[in-house]
Amino acid sequence: MSLEAFNHSEPLTLGVELELQLVNTNDYDLAPYADDMLRLMAKTPLPGSVVPEMTNSMIEISTDICHSASEVLGQLTPIRDALVKSADKLNIAVVGGGTHPFQQWHERRIYDKPRFQELSQLYGYLSKQFTIFGQHVHIGCPDADAALLMLHRMSRYIPHFIALSASSPYVQGQDTAFDSARLNSVFAFPLSGRAPCVLTWTEFEQYFNKMTRTGVVKSMKDFYWDIRPKPEFGTIEIRVFDTPLTIERAAALAGFVQSLGAWFLADQPFIPEEDDYLVYTYNRFQACRFGMDAVYVDPATGDHMPLREHILHTMDKIAGHAALQGASSAMHMLRTEVEAGQNDARWLRERQREEQLLAEVSRQAAQRFRGGR
C-alpha cells in the first residue's frame, strides 16, 4: 500500500481527540459500558464524534475542525455534558486521566471491532495493557513539507506537552513515581517513539515505501509515534498528552500547540536536525518521571535547565502568537499552574494522600470532569 497524498487543510486549525474512562459508581473500577454509551450518545446531535476504543471500558470523543482553543472548548462542552447525562442514565461515571489508577489489565475485554480484534491477536496482553487514555491534538499544516517541518519542530516541545498534561501516576493500584506512566505502556509497542528525521514529503514517502516492503507496516496507523503525520486530514497529530482531568485543560493544551505552531509558521525559528534527537529520549523520560520538576536539555545548546523554567520561557516567547490565535486565556491558565508547579498528576497524588483510597480519588476525578470542582 502506498502512502496517501497529503490533503489540504487550513493552517493552524485544530482537532482534539480525548480517550475517556468509563467507571461504575459502586467501587469506581472500569466498567464495560462503551456500547451503551455509544447508543445513548447517538441520540443527541453533537459536534465531532464519539467512537469506541480498544477495550470496552473506554470511549473516544473528538471535535470537528476548530480555529481556536475557545472553539475547542465550545465543542467539548456539549459533548462532555451529553456524556455526563448518558452516564447518569446508566449509573456510571466518566473520568479523565491517563490511566485508571487501580484497574487490572487482565480483566479488560477487547471491544468487538475487527481492527481491535486483529490488534489483540498481534499484540497479546499489550493490547489490554493499552487501556490507557490519551489526548491527541491535530494541527493543520499548509502543505506536506511544512507538516514534516512542523512535526520535527514540535518534537523539541514533547517534554513540555508531557509535563503539562501528565495525569497517570498510578498503575494497577501503585504509585509508579512517574507523573506520566501511560507513555511507558506506549513504549512497549514496536514503531513507537519518534518519527524518522526527514524534512520533505518525498523522503518520507521513500521511508514509508521501504517500511511497507518489509511487511511490518501496512498503513500510517501502524506507527505509534509520539507525533505522526495524518495525510488524510492534512495535519500532524501529537499523541503524547495524557487525557487531562478536565476539558478546560484539554482545550488549553490545544491552544498551547496552536500558539507554538503559529510561532513556527510566522518566524521559522529554527531548522530541526537529527542531532535534536540525541536528547529526545532523555528529555521525554525526565518529563514522564518528574513532570514539572524535570530537567530539560536544550537540544540546540546542550544547556540543562528546569523544564518548568523552559515552559515559562517558551510561553513568553509565543505570547504574541497566542494572542493572535485567541489563546491568551488558555496560556494564562496553563502558566498559573506551571508557576505553582501543579499538574493533574500532582492533584491526583494530593487527593490520594488525603483519602488513602484510589477509588475515592477516581470518584473525585469524575466530579472534576463533570465540572464539579
Binding site: Y33, D36, D88, Q356
Partner: protein
C-alpha cells in the same frame, strides 16, 4: 441415614454437639462439590452447594428443621442480611432521578409477577389465602444466587448491574409485603387500616434498625479505612446485632440490612471498597445459606398435582418477570437483548423466598403447610435451575470477564482455576 446418625451419637460426644459435626462435614462436602462443579462444568459453585444440600435433604438429614427457627433461622437471616446490605449499597437513589424507567421496570415486573402467579394459582383451584402468599414468595428474586454467579463468572456490565438492582428491589417488596402478610394470614374481614398497619410496622421497625446501622457505620467510616480488616469485622458484628434485634422488635432483619445499605450509600457516596475484605467468612456463611435452603426445600412432599402447580408457578413467574422488565425497558437506556438477559438473570429463587414461606408456616401452620408444599419444591428447582439460567444470561450478554471454563480448559490454565 438416621440410623447412621444415631449410631454416631452413641459413641461420639463432641464438645460442640453432634449437629455441629454433621453440619461441618456437610459444608466440607458442599465446598468440594462447589469447587468440582465450577472446575468441570463452568457453572457457578452455588450449584454444587445446592446439589449437596438437596441430596442431604432427600436422604433425610435432620440437621435442618422446618419451619426454620432458632440458630438455623438466625444463620439464614444473617447470610441474607450480609448479601442484602451489600446489594442495597449498590442502589444510589439518584439513579432513579436520572433514569426513572429503572424504577418503572422494577415495579412492572413485581406487580406483573404477583398478579400473574396469583391468578394462575387461583385458576388451578388453589384457595386465595394460599395463592396470595405464594405470589409473594414468587415475587422474591435471589440477590444471593445472582451475586454468587456474578462473582464466579467475574461479570460486570449493564445487564449484571441492572439485574442486581432489580433483584434487590423485588426482594425489598417481597420482604415488606411478605412479613406483613404473615401477620394478617389468620385474620378475616380486615379494614384498610388493619391491612396497612402491619406493613407500616415492618417497614418502620426495619427503617429504624437500618438507620442505626447506617449511622454507626457512617460514623465509623469517618475515621476507619474502608479497606481495613477491622472495618469489615465491625460491619459483620453490627449486621449480626441488627439481625438479632430487628425480627424480635417486629421488623425484618434482611429488610433492615437492605435499607441500611441503601441509606449508607446515600449518606456516604464514597466507593464501597470494604465488602471485598469480608472474604472467606462471608463466603462460608453464604455457602451455609445455600446448603440450608436446599436441605430444607428438599424435604417437601412431592406429588403429581403439586408438581403441576409448581411448574405452572415457575413458568408464569419466568414470563411475568421477563415481560415486566421488557415493559419498562423503553427509554431505560438498555437494548431489548439486554432486557431479555436481565429478565433471565432474575429467575433464581432461594433463601429470601424460603424465609418468607417460613414466616407463613410459623404464622399459620395449617395454611402454611399448603403454601410450603408448593413453595419448597419451587424454591429448590429455581435455586438450581435459576443459577444455571442466570449464568447463561451473563455469558450470553458478554459480561463475563473470562470465557466459559470447560470450553477453554486445556488451552489456558488460568481460566480453569477456581476464581
Amino acid at each position: 441415614m438416621n440410623e447412621i446418625l444415631s449410631f454416631w451419637a452413641q459413641w461420639l460426644r463432641p464438645s460442640a454437639g453432634l449437629p455441629t459435626v454433621q453440619w461441618s462435614l456437610l459444608l466440607a462436602v458442599a465446598a468440594m462439590a462447589g469447587y468440582l462443579t465450577q472446575r468441570h462444568t463452568g457453572l457457578p459453585k452455588v450449584l454444587g452447594y445446592s446439589l449437596v444440600g438437596t441430596a442431604a435433604g432427600l436422604a433425610g438429614f435432620s440437621g435442618a428443621v422446618w419451619p426454620l427457627q432458632g440458630i438455623g433461622l438466625f444463620l439464614l437471616e444473617l447470610g441474607i442480611a450480609i448479601v442484602l446490605f451489600e446489594c442495597g449499597g449498590r442502589i444510589p437513589l439518584r439513579w432513579f432521578r436520572h433514569n426513572p424507567m429503572v424504577l418503572v421496570q422494577s415495579i412492572a415486573e413485581s406487580v406483573l409477577t404477583y398478579f400473574a402467579v396469583y391468578w394462575v394459582l387461583v385458576w388451578l383451584n388453589l384457595p386465595t389465602q394460599v395463592a396470595g402468599p405464594l405470589a409473594l414468595v414468587a415475587l422474591a428474586a435471589s440477590p444471593a444466587v445472582l451475586t454468587r454467579v456474578v462473582a464466579d463468572t467475574r461479570a460486570a456490565g449493564p445487564v449484571t448491574e441492572r439485574a442486581i438492582v432489580l433483584t434487590t428491589l423485588s426482594t425489598l417488596y417481597a420482604l415488606t409485603l411478605g412479613s406483613a402478610k404473615a401477620e394478617l394470614i389468620n385474620r378475616q374481614s380486615l379494614t384498610l387500616m388493619e391491612t396497612v398497619y402491619p406493613v407500616v410496622v415492618v417497614l418502620g421497625v426495619s427503617i429504624i434498625v437500618a438507620a442505626v446501622l447506617a449511622l454507626v457505620l457512617r460514623m465509623a467510616l469517618r475515621f476507619m479505612s474502608p479497606t481495613s480488616e477491622n472495618t469489615s469485622m465491625l460491619f459483620l458484628a453490627l449486621v449480626a446485632a441488627g439481625t438479632a434485634v430487628a425480627a424480635h422488635m417486629g421488623g425484618s432483619a434482611p429488610l433492615a440490612a437492605l435499607l441500611g445499605g441503601m441509606l449508607l450509600k446515600q449518606l456516604n457516596p464514597r466507593p464501597w471498597a470494604w465488602p471485598r475484605q469480608l472474604g472467606n467468612a462471608s463466603s462460608l456463611l453464604t455457602m451455609l445459606m445455600f446448603v440450608l435452603v436446599s436441605t430444607v426445600a428438599a424435604q417437601a412432599d412431592w406429588s403429581a398435582p403439586v408438581a403441576g402447580v409448581v411448574l405452572a408457578l415457575i413458568a408464569v413467574r419466568l414470563v411475568a418477570k421477563a415481560t415486566g422488565v421488557a415493559l419498562g425497558n423503553v427509554g431505560s437506556g438498555a437494548s431489548w437483548k439486554q432486557a431479555l438477559w436481565v429478565g433471565c438473570a432474575m429467575t433464581p429463587m432461594s433463601s429470601i423466598a424460603l424465609l418468607i414461606a417460613s414466616q407463613f408456616v410459623l404464622a399459620s401452620p395449617s395454611t402454611g403447610h399448603v403454601i410450603a408444599g408448593v413453595a419448597l419444591p419451587a424454591i429448590l428447582l429455581m435455586e438450581v435451575l435459576g443459577a444455571v439460567i442466570a449464568t447463561v444470561a451473563i455469558y450470553r450478554a458478554g459480561e463475563s470477564s473470562k470465557p466459559w471454563a470447560p470450553l477453554t480448559r486445556g488451552h489456558n490454565g488460568e481460566n480453569s482455576r477456581e476464581s
